[in-house]
Amino acid sequence: MMRPEEHNERRRVRARRMALLLGVFAAGVYLAYIAFSLLSGGA
């Protein structure tokens, strides 16, 4: 049986990984929109 603190710590580590992925996704959307606008003849 895992101690509650250990359990919480594991969940936090998983949360950090997920946060990183979501952050990369958000940055990807940002760059993709600018790239799409460049390709569609802007700039």
């Binding site: 946060a19 929109y33 802007g42």
Partner: protein, 524 residues
């Protein structure tokens, strides 16, 4: 490698004074900061609305120059959307989501601190642009080029402020998603999760998809202005209408980003004061997800008058109308929750009921605006102003007021003054209608929005609307008084607070102790 897990809050004893608030990583402290910040912004943005309504009290130019009037409408909107209502719901999320799902804190507490502390600087930057040569932005909150490129020295500051506000929202959303996905109490499956957590989970995903699009759009405005690009300039091969597509691809989901957490709050208040479980919980969840999905494929209904192929008009008209279906499911479920319930009408319930009636009214005028041929008549008139104020003030803001009265006993440990709460409610409900209902008629009669002067036939309804606005503004001082009074003292609140209240947040004492659920509760 052996990892030794430190106690979750070994380092987290509250500091004293200002440092406590600057360095805090506690979700309750950060929730309080968000809510207080939002309260300040309510009055800052509200003061700008008073300037607008003062100028429109009668025809002709009386008080401010047309340029300053446009700055007031623009900054009022930006402050109310990004500085007031979004932070208010982020405050509710911070305070309540860990309590609702049985988590010890938000999953990423330092990120949480950073998300909040970006806000005051961004808002200050935005407000201070009013004092720069050329004044603040005056293009409306939509920041359409080429008009927005005529902004004076304020332009780069506005773009930077919008970026900061967006980053703050994205970081808060990431935190909310990972908290809900990872820190739910054992036994709390997704379909056992309280509605407010559900609505915020879906909102947070919407924010992560929509907000970077706005950031991309305003970055391109910046490069058009300073780095020689012509994304939105026809002279250089670009297209100003493309900005409108980009803006509204963010802007329409943004409307739902604001209203979905409001739906969540109302879904807690109505069952509590009906003393019945929420009717059709699962359909509520699916309706929320459907609204979020549909919100991303309807953006061009804001742009019917820019001209588009008939197939495009049909698609955006019909997909917009489709949103009425899941929204109707929600309205039906709230009504069915009250059916044969043991109703009582404390202040949170009054706000929730007013929300139900008036948000539905705003929804109906939205349906009228969705009809493409009719929109050619309504577009950029006061009818639109009336519509979105019914949705955002009588919808989102009323739900936020209801949420404050509902949960403030849990936050402060004191009951609020019911007499003050009811006075605040009735004045707010009456003056909201006096302010915004006549604007429907003004719009239908052809009065354009964003103008400081108007033809004399619009004078009576404008005077009525202005009187309503002054009353609405003054009524919020009662809210301020009620909140301060509740923080300073009052009748002690029990843990359950409301006799019909069900959920983990009501199992902890009032006020909620600094650390809750260090050992996760088990949800059967």
């Amino acid at each position: 490698m052996v990892t030794v897990a430190a106690p979750a809050h070994a380092h987290d004893a509250p500091r004293s004074g200002v440092l406590r608030w600057i360095t805090t990583t506690n979700h309750k402290d950060i929730g309080t900061l968000y809510l207080l910040f939002s309260l300040v912004m309510l009055f800052v943005g509200g003061a700008m609305a008073m300037v607008v309504r003062l100028e429109l009290f009668k025809p002709g130019l009386q008080w401010v120059s047309p340029a300053f009037f446009n700055q007031m409408t623009t900054v009022h909107a930006l402050i109310m959307v990004f500085g007031m209502i979004m932070p208010a719901f982020a405050g509710f999320a911070n305070w309540m989501i860990p309590l609702l799902i049985g988590a010890p804190d938000m999953a990423l507490p330092r990120l949480n601190n950073w998300s909040f502390w970006l806000l005051p600087f961004a808002a200050a930057l935005l407000v201070l642009t009013l004092f720069l040569p050329g004044g603040g932005p005056a293009s409306g909150w939509t920041l359409y080029p080429p008009l927005v490129l005529q902004t004076g020295q304020a332009f780069p500051f506005v773009i930077f402020a919008v970026h900061l506000l967006g980053i703050s929202s994205i970081l808060a959303s990431i935190n909310i998603i990972v908290t809900i996905m990872n820190l739910r109490a054992p036994g709390m499956t997704l379909l056992k999760m309280p509605m407010f957590a559900w609505t915020w989970l879906i909102t947070a995903y919407l924010l992560i998809i929509a907000m970077p699009v706005l950031a991309g759009g305003v970055t391109m405005l910046l490069t058009d202005q300073f780095f020689g690009t012509s994304f939105f300039s026809a002279a250089g091969g670009g297209d100003p209408v493309m900005f409108q597509h980009i803006f509204w691809f963010f802007g329409h989901p943004e409307v739902y980003i604001i209203i979905l957490p409001a739906f969540g709050i109302v879904s807690h208040i109505i069952p509590t004061f009906s003393r019945k479980p929420l009717f059709g919980y699962e359909t509520m969840v699916y309706a929320t997800a459907s609204i979020a999905f549909l919100s991303m494929i309807v953006w061009a209904h804001h742009m019917f008058t820019t001209g588009m192929p008939l197939a495009g008009e049909m698609f955006f008209m019909l997909s917009t109308m489709l949103i009425a279906v899941p929204t109707g499911v929600k309205i039906f479920n709230w009504t069915a929750t009250m059916w044969r319930g043991s109703l009582s009408f404390e202040t949170p319930m009054l706000f929730a009921l007013a929300f139900l009636f008036m948000f539905t009214l705003g929804g109906f005028s939205g349906l009228m605006l969705a009809i493409a041929p009719a929109d050619f008549q309504y577009h950029d008139t006061y009818f639109v102003v009336a519509h979105f104020h019914y949705v955002l003030v009588a919808g989102a803001l009323f739900a936020a007021f209801g949420g404050v009265y509902f949960w403030i006993p849990k936050w402060t440990g004191h009951m609020y003054d019911e007499r003050l709460g009811k006075l605040h409610f009735w004045l707010t409900a009456i003056f909201t209608n006096v302010t915004f209902f006549p604007q429907h008629f003004l719009g239908l009669a052809g009065m354009p929005r964003r103008i400081p002067d108007y033809a004399t036939q619009f004078a009576p309804f404008n005077a009525m609307s202005s009187i309503g606005a002054f009353g609405l503004g003054a009524a919020q001082l009662i809210f301020l008084w009620a909140v301060i009074k509740c923080i300073r003292g009052g009748v002690s609140a029990s843990a359950q607070v409301w006799d019909g209240a069900v959920g983990l947040e009501w199992t902890v004492p009032s006020p909620a102790p600094r650390h809750t659920f260090d050992e996760p509760p088990h949800v059967p």
